[in-house]
Symmetry: C2
């Protein structure tokens, strides 16, 4: 029997991308059973270029080729534009964010025009070009899923969409970025800013280019996405102040400060805040550990819910990306007559 | 344009049922937009009998008729069997549990045979007849959703199914029943068992017939459903010990005791426990308030997640039932060609 299958085109094979491929390698059978679809690698892009596979490549083989630095040997080298010309496929964007998101914007628009759906872990295009991307998706009846863009592996958009169906979100408060809060905690305990960053890098939390995270740009991007996705706004980064931690932060006495995202609705007004806040004793967000991400959400019908992960990293983020791929695969499977 | 619609047949209009109808009355437009389907009341059953509506009845009108005690005046009175003969409809079971679940079993089997899908908040049929119900659903390609059977309004089955796609559940620990833990807390604070029960009833937590909750039968039913749904078992109530609180419980020194459900997998073995446990300091479950339900789940790919509601009641449970109805409606909408 011919099985149903769907091809995915992987953009970026960094730590999230490698974890994603490991999950596909190890859990391929389970994923097929649960979605009714075989997830097939159709192509990949890394720093060396883009490649389309003439016959399906096993995830483990792509991982192996990545480690030896020659993914281009697995198929036909193509331009980045040709990667977006695969009708019926899913573009899975786990690449590093560009500053203004315009590289990714062009990629998404081209992919959707060519009949592809999008799964992304990349915040910049959504924080900078939300309306254009979503308007295009809506007009072309294409899907854009982005679970992994906010709060790592903690279920968020899929939870509110799939478990809180009859609800409107009235308030969101969360610790959605690890690095800034981890660095602040280390500074409270006596480390200098740069030593704290080095510790975060050692723990695999902070990237080499850590400033986007510590300055609060990362948190601001996530806050924009939250305001747009959960509160129906059309914000961009320009609409929100960015604040974070740096060499000049005096961490003494900041025991209850956290870098949080907070969005509230009152009447027709939506207020979005991203930055350091002095939390009250007993605040749920203070109970989260240094490796935790989590949030509290007040819904109109499903109550006030609190959720966090005990420890978040690229493995959990990759699982969130895979969950989006599976949601799309299930929809496509059900759509078949 | 003819809109797509799906008919639901409501079994039981107690406190969950009334909240369900209120949600449908207030959020009908939102629900239609999100699912692509109008949810239409096709019939209802309460203690006075069953009625099929010859033309759609507004949720607010059914609520009004319920309050004045004459839902039968809204349409044609039918037998309980005729309520299960509505092909393409959804049977929404919010009725009180029968002791052995056999009344509900017969209802579900008949409904599925007649082309209906099932949404249920009723634990007894699933705790007593899981395999027979699920085998029938599978053979007839019918859906049985049961989010509201465990942990009230806290997303659980829909979260693990919709947000943790690539994962296997390796451990589940939760406070999934309010009453027994609330009563135990009141007893710790000096109340007698019966005074504690009275307080729970005053707060709308305990039912008139409270023994199923305090004895631990309710917790045991939920534990069986969890073991079956999340760990692939085919347990029934006979496979699990039931324990709880009663007049003979000495609550002194039980500060860290909670009635919990705990299920663990080690290799091919699955261990299910329902009852009082002395929790360690720092246990997440100890952080839950007296009106909270919640759980901690260890997944193979999506990390260790913790989620709780701040305050759970019939409104949140009804929202969970509605979410299941919406998931079914969405599937039916996507299946249309």
């Amino acid at each position: 029997m011919q099985r149903n299958s769907i091809s995915i085109y992987v953009q970026g094979i960094g730590s999230v991308g490698r974890n994603f491929l490991s999950i596909l390698a190890d859990e391929g059978k389970l994923i097929s059973e649960r979605t009714g679809m075989d997830i097939v690698l159709g192509g990949a892009t890394d720093r060396t270029g883009s490649v389309i596979f003439s016959k399906p490549v096993a995830p483990a083989d792509l991982l192996k080729a990545k480690l030896s630095g020659n993914i281009l040997s697995l198929g036909k080298e193509v331009t980045s534009r040709e990667m977006t010309e695969n009708e019926g496929g899913i573009l899975v964007d786990m690449s590093s964010a560009s500053r203004d998101g315009s590289r990714e914007l062009q990629m998404y628009l081209s992919a959707m025009k060519n009949g592809m759906d999008i799964v992304t872990a990349n915040k910049s295009p959504l924080a900078n070009h939300w309306k254009q991307i979503m308007d295009n998706a809506s007009a072309g009846r294409r899907m854009v899923l982005y679970e992994a863009t906010v709060a790592g592996g903690v279920p968020l958009f899929s939870l509110l969409g799939g478990s809180c169906g009859p609800s409107t979100v009235n308030e969101f408060r969360g610790i959605v970025s690890l690095t800034a809060n981890f660095v602040l905690k280390q500074m409270r305990e006596g480390k200098t800013f740069m030593d704290a960053v080095a510790e975060a890098q050692k723990r695999g939390i902070a990237e080499t280019n850590f400033r986007d995270d510590t300055d609060g740009l990362d948190g601001a991007r996530k806050t924009v996405i939250l305001a747009n996705a959960l509160f129906g706004k059309n914000m961009t980064l320009k609409d929100i102040k960015t604040s974070g931690v740096s060499e000049s932060t005096d961490a003494k006495g900041m025991d209850r400060y956290r870098l949080i995202a907070e969005i509230t609705r009152s009447g027709n007004e939506v207020h979005a805040f991203s930055g350091l806040r002095n939390l009250d004793d007993g605040d749920y967000l203070l109970s989260l550990g240094e490796m935790s991400l989590g949030y509290e959400v007040n819904t109109s019908r499903n109550g006030r819910l609190r959720i966090h992960s005990v420890s978040d990293g690229p493995g959990e983020t990759a699982a969130a990306v895979m969950n989006d791929v599976m949601l799309l695969a299930k929809e496509k499977f059900q759509g078949k007559c």
